[in-house]
């Protein structure tokens, strides 16, 4: 399966839902664009979790272009897609890898968003490229978090550096990077405990882990990935802000896109923080990770809308 097909496969639910909704707007040939029409469009957009603001601005743009006219589906979608693409246009998609020595990737996010699983998926991706991977089990808080990562490490063939339960996560980060340097590994991925962006001391701990990760490898961490749950609503904006401030996020992994949730909140996040989505998670397995492609993302959302 090609990338586009896989994206579409992961987003099929989304596309189906959205497209049925949009098709409902058009009973015959076309429909008069009036307030009622625009309200229906607004509803469809809001349901993607993009938020009332962005949805409103798209609605207004459609209104400006089409109000009083009878429109074809394709015209309308072209306008919506153009607007979405404009918002999501990004060039900083690729992971930044170290020129030499291990690349250090730190993974952060709120509780249960999918950090540990995403790390397993990333590790699996790198292993597939023949790279050697060290994982740092930096969640020393949650029950059996270390065991969870250990199982994944075994499954994907990565080395794991563990800390004591209740121990200092920064020291795990230090030992993991040291291990990666020592063994000449290509990749070192640091897991962190889930936390809410409002917990000041825990956010500060992230800053510390980040600093420690750069002790042995000056450029590290090369990437700080924020894992966002696609089912999250507008609070994800606060998450992006809080985690970026504390840990200097460089990109987003949008997990759980295989459900009915649409993950549209990455649109305002991109708009406000210039934070690119780098990967999407589309399942619980080690292979269920795909690079995020804005054009495909937008296309896949509306792929079945016409025809």
């Amino acid at each position: 399966m090609g990338l586009f097909d896989r994206v579409k496969a992961g987003l099929r639910r989304t596309a189906q839902l959205l497209s049925t909704d949009i098709r409902d707007l058009f009973k015959q040939q076309g429909r008069l664009v009036d307030d009622k029409f625009l309200t229906e469009l607004f509803a469809i957009l809001v349901k993607t979790d993009m938020g009332g603001g962005p949805a409103g601005s798209i609605r207004d743009q459609v209104g400006r272009e089409y109000r009083g006219r009878v429109v074809e589906m394709t015209d309308l979608l072209a306008s919506v897609k153009a607007k979405l693409l404009e918002l999501m246009a990004q060039s900083d998609q690729e992971l930044r890898l170290a020129a030499s020595g291990p690349t250090v990737i730190m993974v952060v996010g709120v509780n249960g968003s999918g950090k540990t699983t995403s790390i397993a998926k990333l590790a699996s991706l790198f292993r597939g490229e023949g790279k050697r991977v060290v994982l740092g089990a930096g969640d020393t808080f949650r029950a059996a978090a270390v065991e969870q990562l250990t199982i994944w490490a075994e499954r994907v063939g990565a080395e794991i550096v563990k800390g004591e339960m209740g121990g200092d996560p920064a020291s795990v980060a230090h030992r993991a990077t040291a291990r990666a340097v020592e063994t000449g590994a290509d990749i070192c991925i640091l897991d962190t405990a889930g936390r809410l962006q409002t917990q000041a001391n825990l956010m500060q701990q992230l800053s510390k882990i980040r600093k420690v990760a750069g002790k042995l490898i000056p450029e590290a961490p090369h990437e700080v990935l924020l894992v966002l749950d696609a089912t999250a609503g507008q609070n994800a904006i606060s998450q992006a802000k809080g985690f970026s401030e504390a840990a200097g996020c460089t990109g987003i992994v949008l997990s759980k896109l295989d459900g009915t949730a649409k993950g549209g909140v990455v649109i305002p996040i991109r708009q406000q923080f210039q934070l690119p989505v780098k990967f999407i998670g589309v399942g619980e397995g080690a292979d269920d990770l795909m690079p995020f492609q804005p054009r495909e993302f937008v296309e896949a959302l509306f792929a079945d809308a016409v025809k």
Binding site: N111, E147, Q148, T231, A232, G233, Q234, N235, K256
Partner: protein, 492 residues
């Protein structure tokens, strides 16, 4: 910062308390704000729509009975309806004679396993029942260990069976064992699953059919967005839900998904999770949650905070002076400084409606700078001038402007602004809450909450809002002009 604060307040107050009478038209605008706020809180679109209809019907019915302030009326109705929709409360955990079985289900990562532990702890505390946790999640790596760790922490039994892949069997065996060992309560921790995963939803149905849990609780992440209606209705269709538990409400999520879930399932909301520790489970209270979701800024609370901003001692002094009609520029300055306290700003914002866009608010340091300029002007005055601005003639004005590094016209504007405000502020002394509320509204028009922007607005001479870039340009222009003047002065 001040600007958006003022915008939010102005919008809220203008639409909600602006007119003496609650008309169809101004109610619609108030309701529109409520609607916006609910969407911002992640209440699902359809749920918002049906809720707004209900509220409107209610409000129209009460129109003739208007004896309250319109804002109180509208917000009061909305709040009341929210409480009604979220209620009634039922934090009970009923037990039967022999073995009571509770089952938790929900999406991946919503907090089922942790909540299993929390419920066990609660039951341990509130009854003499012995509890057994059952590891029915055979999917997630280390899910079984996770439950064992929690069991150890709590000192309760954990049942797991490494030799089977069938959660139905695990649950059946566990209940049998509990019966043998006379353990009164069994809690089933099931695997997280997507509502559209046929196979796994069927598995859940099989557990329900064959183990017959007494209560089935849906565990919902407090940060969930619009998808809440989809997943909740799927779980509700597949199972006989008895209650909802919403987790992760210890953060800044508004938790509007709870309204959606309540609407589609109709079952009581039992508990909320407020932390990762096992004691962080609270009985659900609709009043608090309604305010949290509504986020319409308790306007009375705002007045209260604003009043407390001036520390107690100063406040007493100030009130004395106000009563005596002696509100001076010095007091004005103190007030401004009080409003610049960062913690206070955050608190005020938390109380304000439509304040979702924190970024934008915190980003505009411009206004803060302008506020400093304003304070600078007052600081450049002599004590006598501060006490009696009438002393300030054109030569004094030039001196003050030079001292503060501003243009003389800005000094004039500040004094004008103060003239407008002083009587209003004075009117606040000793007033009751309702009266204060009205005064705050007037003060805003006078610019107390936005002293810096007042200067800026006059400078531009237009009422339209400027983009950040335009503001930056204007500021640069102003600073250039100031530098030029300073150079000239030095040259003289």
């Amino acid at each position: 910062m001040f600007e958006s604060l003022q915008d939010g307040m102005r919008a809220a107050l203008k639409t909600l308390t602006g007119k003496a009478k609650l008309t169809e038209a101004n109610m619609r605008e108030g309701l529109r704000l409520v609607e916006q706020s609910l969407l911002e809180a992640d209440v699902s679109y359809e749920v918002v729509q049906s809720f707004m209809e209900r509220v409107t019907a209610q409000a129209v019915g009460e129109k003739v009975l208007l004896s309250l302030d319109p804002s109180q009326q509208v917000v009061g109705i909305v709040h009341q309806q929210l409480i009604e929709l979220l209620g009634p409360v039922d934090p009970s955990l009923p037990f039967r004679e022999d073995v009571t079985v509770y089952m938790l289900c929900g999406l991946q990562g919503s907090g089922k396993t942790t909540t299993t532990g929390k419920l066990a702890k609660l039951i341990q505390q509130e009854s003499d029942k012995r509890v057994m946790l059952v590891a029915a999640d055979l999917q997630r790596p280390a899910a079984i260990q996770q439950l064992h760790v929690l069991g150890e922490q709590l000192g309760v039994a954990v049942y797991s069976d490494p030799n089977t892949k069938d959660p139905v069997k695990v649950c059946q065996d566990a209940v049998r064992k509990a019966r043998q060992e006379r353990i009164g309560v069994v809690i089933l921790d099931t695997a997280g699953r997507l509502a559209i995963d046929r196979e796994l939803m069927d598995e859940l149905k099989r557990v329900e059919n064959q183990v017959r849990p007494d209560k089935v609780f849906l565990v919902v992440d407090g940060m969930t967005g619009q998808d809440a209606v989809n997943s909740a209705s799927a779980f509700n269709d597949a199972l006989e839900l008895d209650g909802v538990i919403m987790t992760k409400l210890d953060g800044d999520s508004r938790g509007g998904a709870l309204l959606s879930v309540k609407q589609v399932t109709g079952v009581p909301i039992k508990f909320i999770g407020t932390g990762e520790h096992l004691d962080a489970l609270e009985p659900f209270r609709p009043e608090g949650m309604a305010s949290r979701i509504l986020g319409m800024g308790d306007i009375l609370g705002l007045v209260d905070v604003a009043r407390r901003a001036v520390d107690e001692k100063k406040r007493v002094e100030l009130e004395e002076r106000l009563r005596a009609g002696q509100f001076t520029l010095e007091d004005f300055r103190d007030q401004i400084m009080q409003f610049m306290k960062p913690g206070l700003m955050m608190k005020l914002m938390g109380l304000l409606p439509g304040m979702g866009d924190l970024q934008q608010m915190m980003g505009s340091v411009d206004t803060e700078k302008d506020t400093k300029r304003l304070v600078g002007i007052i600081d450049s005055m002599t004590r006598a001038e501060r006490r009696n601005p009438k002393l300030i003639d054109s030569s004094r004005r030039s001196r003050i402007a030079r001292g503060a590094g501003v243009e003389p016209v800005e000094v004039t504007q500040l004094i004008k602004q103060f003239d407008v405000m002083a009587p209003l502020v004075q009117g606040m002394a000793g007033a009751g809450m309702a009266e204060r509320l009205r005064k705050v509204r007037e003060l805003q028009a006078g610019g107390l909450f936005n002293p810096g922007a007042q200067l800026m607005r006059e400078k531009k001479g237009t009422g339209k809002r400027l983009s950040t870039k335009e503001k930056a340009d204007l500021r640069k222009q102003r600073e250039r002009e100031l530098r030029r003047r300073k150079r000239e002065e030095r040259g003289r």
